[in-house]
């Protein structure tokens, strides 16, 4: 923040409302940009293969995107605070297996309790991450890189060569991800509500705003008396808990759960978050953007299958998009800074 590019200007010169509008516009562009890409992409795909927009395919995409959007919600909360959680894939895997077992006929735990168990498992992992980052003062990249390994290792140790298969669940478990209202999966609706809630929290509650403040300038946040440890800890705990829930949904969606569930999801989630316009170094971005980012990536994924493009292209496209997103993000913010600078220069002159 000390690197200010604008020279001194007389105070109270013409109100800089125009710069606010500019800033608003740019940030709107950031989110609308993703939406626009999404729309164009869907339109092009649908014009080639009209069945892309069939109700079943939309349902498929929505349900798959739901899990990623949920993970992206948790990841966004962490990334906004200038941290990163690379352990979400492993947490999802562990939660998926354990809750799948609980939802099997042999245990027959009622559905709400299964979800509670998923939250609990995820919360535990998130708390461990959060404690090591806040009290241990180890950079979150390193902590969650380590827990990525460790939680997966624990998962493999617990699961061994076992697996849970669809036949073993009580029926209502598998229908979680299949029920629809007016052609839209229940799951997508619920998750959309959850994400909207998350967005509302981040926008209108002190604790939410403080996460942005921490990510925007940690030193200033400390001087402002923001309980940084507690906030960052909460972010990790939330991210863990959300990954735990995503694990339950994963089990319900795909049925077959072994020790590899959710492997390398962390990179896709980070990709969705970054594509969704969340600054990787914290301070700005929205969960809605991240959720749209997740939807976009999932749509691209699905379009490749539907168009019959070799799935071999899938990963390269995802990687390319991720890089494109951060490059664009960087260019936009450079432009914004430069234009704010020129504006104040013009006023000052």
């Amino acid at each position: 923040m000390t690197a200010t590019l604008a020279p001194h200007r007389e105070p109270g010169s013409p109100a800089p409302a125009s710069s606010r509008r500019l800033a608003d516009r740019v940030f709107r562009i950031r989110e609308f940009g993703i939406v626009a890409v999404l729309v164009v992409f869907v339109a092009v795909t649908a014009s080639i293969q009209s069945r892309f927009l069939s109700s079943t395919n939309i349902q498929f995409i929505l349900v798959d995107a739901t899990i990623f959007a949920l993970l992206a919600l948790g990841e966004t909360i962490v990334v906004i605070s200038r941290n990163v959680d690379l352990s979400v894939g492993s947490v999802l895997g562990l939660s998926a297996f354990l809750t799948a077992r609980l939802a099997s006929n042999t245990h027959g735990l009622p559905l709400p309790l299964v979800f509670l168990a998923g939250i609990g498992i995820g919360l535990l992992c998130g708390i461990v991450n959060g404690l090591m980052v806040t009290i241990g003062r180890v950079p979150s990249l390193v902590v969650t890189l380590a827990t990525l390994y460790i939680i997966r290792g624990a998962d493999v140790l617990i699961v061994g060569g076992g697996q849970v298969v669809p036949s073993s669940y009580y029926p209502s478990f598998l229908t979680i991800s299949k029920a629809t209202v007016a052609g839209i999966p229940d799951l997508a609706i619920v998750v959309a509500v959850v994400i909207a809630g998350g967005a509302y929290w981040l926008r209108t509650y002190r604790s939410g705003r403080e996460l942005y403040a921490i990510g925007s300038n940690p030193d200033a946040a400390r001087l402002a008396g923001i309980p940084m440890g507690r906030r960052v800890f909460t972010a990790f705990a939330l991210s863990g808990a959300i990954a735990g829930v995503a694990g339950v949904l994963w089990a319900s969606r795909y049925g077959t759960v072994d020790s590899t569930a959710g492997t390398s999801y962390e990179l896709q989630v980070v990709a969705a978050v970054v594509v969704g316009g969340v600054a990787i170094f914290g301070g700005s971005g929205s969960v809605v953007g991240a959720a749209i980012g997740a939807l976009l990536l999932q749509t691209i994924n699905s379009a490749l299958y539907v168009l019959g493009v070799s799935p071999n292209w899938d990963q390269a496209i995802a990687g390319f998009l991720l890089i494109l997103a951060i490059v664009l993000d960087r260019l936009i913010s450079l432009r914004l800074t430069a234009s704010l600078r020129r504006r104040s220069a013009r006023r000052g002159a």
Partner: protein, 609 residues
């Protein structure tokens, strides 16, 4: 504001504060005019004389009042004489009313709201504060002065709750208090305006002000509308117009500082610590700030004012505490003191006068900047520096001086213009090209830009000369050691071992290491940006002598300094920058503090008109 027990003292002031808080009350629409109100830092002589004449003629300079807080040396002035409307007067410092306001603060009967007693704080081996004491009374503006490194910033951080003192006590309203973190300080009613703005670039201005304390509505939700309204009110009180809804990124330094001040005001704190709040402000904004300080005092708040500009201290403060080398030196009413007294107390002896002898006539042009422009930063800057002369770039902070230097050295790119050094036009944005052309650059921020703090003294000295210290691509350890030792001796750096981390050195010796790093390259052009900022007096004289000698040896020196005495003492020519443009040029003979300040603040043009 403060709790009720101080009502007796507060009542008149409270009215004044209420008046000052009225959005409409800043009487003149001065901020918009190019020519500011005739408030001037350049004429401290105009303001300080009335004060000794006013009330307290006999305050003994060397009486540290901390030792006897019950028997203050200053005679009491009745609070009631405070004119309720005085803070509203835009030109207050020059009016009799404001003198009365200033006198009111010397009221020894006012309760002590906060005191630090005999605190100490060490960071590893470094003893930042050895024995620090401050006492703040309700309704006073209290100056804390001392050289850089005297321990002022550490005292501020202790008050901010950032550091916990190793020993000593903090009393808030007479109660021993421990501050656990910045939140604790805020909770105790202490607000800090930091020297460097600490804003959240991604958040809106309003959020920056109210972070952690946003106004709430039902369900503990943030009331955005209320927040904007309150922010607008604060800015009105400060007489500036900043859109509370815009993001903080891109604000000018002055606006950032204004937001910081608004933040502190919004806390309704009883103690407000201002660490160099005026460094980036223009004269108009400074005047406005002083009005605010007066209003705060009238409300019964205590203001701790830290500034290197002693004339400001005399203008706004009633009492002063001087620190030197981490120790409390004196606390005294300002009335009756002179600038010389304060300086003596700060440095412990008289300031040395210019030692430089006459230099010969300057030689050939070494460095030329031609129509140098970086959009929004500086415009159309042209000048030349000749061999054997020292050219100073003067101006306010944020006028674009350092930015020009950075552009010349290739740290930043520029949009138009050329730089020629040693007869060759330099490639844009390439420090390597600048160095090859013989330029050395001692940057503004020693710790952040000048030194690699984890590296040893030796490695820092050698860092810019590695290419000459290698044989077959390998750095020869012996050559590096003797190179560093040679230059350390030449600049009389005081060190233990050359392999000690440079962070162990004092500020002055660190600066010498930076200088050694560049002199080791035998530059023909040396750019020094604030070469004596934050270093002790002895080393300061060393640096001055060195620069003088270098110019005598035929090096072209471009110096940026905010210390006018330094500029006047050393420079052959003085270029004044204002808002990114060259505003005036003086020869040493023409220049005076007044003329430079006038050019720097734009009053020169106003007068010419």
């Amino acid at each position: 504001m403060g709790p009720g027990e101080e009502d007796g003292h507060r009542s008149p002031g409270a009215d004044a504060g209420a008046d000052a808080g009225e959005p409409g009350s800043p009487a003149e629409p001065a901020p918009d005019s190019a020519a500011p109100a005739p408030v001037s830092r350049s004429a401290p002589a105009g303001t300080s004389p009335p004060e000794p004449a006013g009330t307290s003629p006999a305050a003994p300079v060397d009486t540290p009042s901390m030792d006897s807080p019950g028997t203050p040396p200053a005679p009491a002035a009745p609070v009631n004489t405070t004119s309720p409307d005085s803070p509203n007067t835009p030109d207050s410092p020059n009016t009799p009313d404001s003198t009365a306001t200033a006198d009111a603060g010397t009221d020894a009967g006012a309760p002590v709201v906060l005191s630090l007693e005999h605190v100490s704080k060490s960071f590893g081996a470094v003893r930042a504060v050895i024995d620090g004491s401050i006492e703040l009374r309700a309704g006073e503006a209290h100056a804390l002065v001392g050289e850089n490194g005297a321990g002022k910033s550490t005292m501020v951080k202790i008050l901010a709750g950032v550091h916990q003192p190793d020993s000593g006590t903090l009393l808030v309203n007479g109660q021993p208090t421990e501050l656990h973190g910045p939140a604790g300080a805020i909770g105790a009613g202490i607000a800090i305006i930091y020297q460097e703005p600490t804003l959240f670039p991604d958040l809106s201005v309003a959020e920056n002000i109210f972070m952690g304390r946003q106004p709430l509505r039902r369900g503990r939700r943030i009331d955005g509308r209320e927040m904007t309204t309150e922010a607008d009110a604060l800015f009105a009180r400060l007489g500036v117009r900043i859109d509370p809804g815009r993001i903080a990124r891109g604000l000018s330094i002055a606006d950032q500082q204004v937001v910081e001040i608004a933040k502190a005001l919004s806390l309704n704190a009883r103690v407000i610590v201002m660490d160099e709040p005026t460094a980036a402000l223009s004269a108009v904004e400074v005047a406005r700030l002083f009005d605010v300080i007066a209003a705060l005092r009238a409300d019964g708040a205590a203001v701790l004012f830290i500034s290197h500009r002693l004339e400001e201290v005399f203008e706004i403060c009633q009492r002063v505490t001087v620190m030197r080398d981490g120790r409390h030196v004196l606390t005294s009413p300002l009335a009756g003191l002179t600038t010389g007294d304060l300086v003596r107390a700060m440095v412990g002896r008289d300031m040395p006068e210019r030692v430089a002898g006459e230099r010969g006539a300057p030689g050939a042009v070494q460095l030329t900047a031609q129509r140098l422009t970086r959009e929004g930063v500086f415009t159309d800057v042209s000048f030349e520096v000749r061999a054997g002369e020292i050219v100073a770039l003067a101006g306010l902070v944020g006028a674009g001086r350092s930015e020009v230097a950075r552009a010349i050295f290739g740290i930043d790119r520029y949009d138009a213009g050329t730089v020629t050094a040693g007869g060759r036009q330099l490639r844009k944005g390439s420090p390597t090209a600048a160095m090859t052309a013989g330029i050395g650059f001692v940057p503004e921020d020693r710790r952040q830009q000048g030194l690699v703090m984890e590296m040893s003294i030796q490695q820092n000295v050698a860092l810019a000369s590695l290419a000459t210290l290698r044989k077959a691509g390998i750095i020869r350890a012996s050559a590096e050691r003797s190179f560093a030792a040679d230059w350390a001796v030449r600049l009389s750096v005081k060190y233990g071992r050359l392999t000690d981390p440079v962070s162990m050195l004092s500020g002055g010796n660190q600066q010498k290491v930076v200088l050694a790093k560049w002199l080791g390259r035998r530059p023909s052009i040396l750019i020094v940006d604030e070469p004596t900022r934050g270093i002790d007096v002895g080393t300061k004289a060393d640096v001055h002598n060195l620069l003088d000698r270098l110019a005598g040896e035929g090096i072209a020196v471009l110096m940026i300094s905010s210390e006018l005495p330094e500029v006047l003492r050393l420079a052959d020519r003085i270029l004044v920058m204002r808002e990114g443009r060259l505003a005036a040029e003086f020869t040493q003979a023409e220049a005076s503090e007044e003329s430079i300040m006038a050019a720097a603040t734009g009053q020169l043009e106003a007068q010419e008109r």
